[in-house]
Amino acid sequence: MSYQPGRMGIAEGIGLTFMVMLPRVFLTSPADTIAAIRNIAWLAPLLNWLIALPMFYLLAWVMARHRGDLYAVSERLLGRAGAWLLAIFYATLFILDAAALLRQFAENTLLTALPATEFRIVIFWYILFAVVLVYFGIEGIARACYLLMPFVVGGVAAVILLLTPFYDAYHLVPWQGTGLLSAFQRGLALVGINIGGLLLFVLAPQFQSPATLRTALVYGGGLSAVLRTLVILCFILAFGVAQGMEKTLPFFEMSRLVYLSRYIQRIEALFIVLWVITGLLAIAINLYAALQLIARPLNLPSLRPLVPVIAIVIVNIAVIPPDLNTVVEAGNNLDPLLSAGMIGGPLLLAVAEFVKRRRKRP
């Protein structure tokens, strides 16, 4: 397998962006956001998306002026050492993100579906399937993501609609929560959860043009942000703030609460499959992004020999935290680093491009 992944278009870009930005909504993140900013928590995903979007546009602007992928453009603007540093920094972020997702999804599978199963077995299967997906290549992953999108959107929409009898709009007031400023700060702090969108720039030559990248990011990332917003909004409507921030798995709790009649209840098992598949794909995408960012500076002809090595690194990082709360805390501690990557990288390249252009002028 070459690190040249083939040709992809808007559909694949939308699928990748959507699937890599969504999975945190199935984890503890919504409850954490409610604990931080209370009633206005639903606004945070929209805010972090609105902050991330200009960064993507900035990067697309830089990429439009050079040929090649993110590494090639970085090399041209920052020099070889700068490009190496940037690639290693982003590879580290993708590895850490994959490790955080792997551990949380494995723990949550134990917590909800397979309580009597050994943790090692669950984490083994997660990483094995991520490795198999990466072996099949990013094109296959991207198309799988695009094909699965309607099911994921439909599943989330079904839970949201089935919970309607439990909604109380007064749970959203006092509407400012802990205040508008803290809502903005939270949105800024969580901007890093959109970092998966950078994968499209890592694979830029395969997406034909910067316009394709922009379209894929706007639709894929936008849809993901809208779904994240709706899930948090409906979670608050059904559970309120005080109970909402207690929950480990908000989306699972939402699906568990569905009760329309004696015939339509206890349907959470249907939706476990939904978030397990989303989690698997997101871990595979992060793994692929990390491999690509390692292989490019080293100029490796193929990614395959690296796949098991990086997968083992990811598993080893994932099993470091002793318990689920530490995992969630570690995930929260990772957010500022991801946000720095989300904002810092595009800004750095844009400034370098700007300076270079000014120097070129007579």
Partner: protein, 419 residues
Amino acid sequence: MIRLTALVCLLAALLTLGCNGSHETDEVSFVITIGVDAAPDGQLNVTYRLSKPAMVRGEAGGEGGGGKSGAEPSTIITITAPSLAVARDLLNAQVARVPNLSHVKVIVIGEELARRGVGEVVGPLLRFREFRGSMFVHVADNTTAEKVIRTNRPVIESLPARWVEGMMASAGETGYYPRAFLHDFYMPMKAGSGSPYAVMTGLSSSGGEARPAAGQTAGEKTDEFLSGGVPVRSGNPVLLIGTALFRGDKMVGKLTSEETRMFLILTGEFRRGFLTIQDPLQPASVVDIHLRLGRKPKIAATVADGRPVIDIDVMLEGEISAISSGVNYEARAYNQLLEEQISAIIRQDLEKTIRYMQQVGSDPANLGKYVRTQFRTYGEYRDFDFESRFPSAVVNVKVTTQIRRTGLMRITSPIRGPE
């Protein structure tokens, strides 16, 4: 290589998925009702009603199902333990199957324990994966949960689980008891407004003699009951009637059947029910009205001099279902008399119910949530501390009634007889 990988994955998926930690259905015992009572030394008496699958199959299959007619579809076991978790483990010491709580329909709490506080019982329920927020919560009225569970003999439904679901599904037919989920019970325990509430379940002990729990409102002919006073002579001695009110995690009061209707009117969940009133023109006779909410009540709140002021506007719709006097209430001129009488009765009942809620400091209708709109931030509302101000809140009630239909008769002709 890809074919080999695909084959290995396929075989692994077929051979391993779903097998880890699984139980065959005949290794599992499903609990359908849990009763919790206070026991000496801080212990709990936990009563389980377990489904007996072979008997259930017989019931469902009817004559051709091969079941054992006359056999009980469930069995009841009571265990004394310091917590629900220990009780579940001790249950496994007696039952040759793995107890599974994921099909529990209802948790019944004894009144003594409810008055002592249920925080330690309810908290773990929402943490453990086998329980759901969609379980129902009942409080045993003036008795123990164990007694209610052991005495319960559904007369139409032979499966106790179906009885619970059927009772809860039909709660809206009368408005005499609410449909209280564990989710609805737990949420106000933590939120900044509202109070937990549960369905009152109890045993009819009046021997067929009516023992109303409260006097009738002027102009009304419907008695107010709690379970002990309902004039039931036969059938299932276990009744669902009334509402248990909580403040924090402690039970502080009870709403009668009529007060429960008022509480449901306030929450907008009153679907329908009959109201028997005194005939406005011939007080010795009665008129039956089938009532429903015309729309959700309009409730607005403000804060004046640190006191919450809550304005409630209720709109009811009615259908005449019986006129015993023969007065032509179908005519608009008489019709208005009925509407005014109904509005006056419901207003008095609402005011009485709200006064009682304020007196015991419990806000099951969550009137506090309307006050939240007066604040910008969560902190400001928490500092206001609605719960402590609720007893002194000013509540203004306005009720209007519209008789929409007169049943299947458009005019009442007088009964012919000697002048």
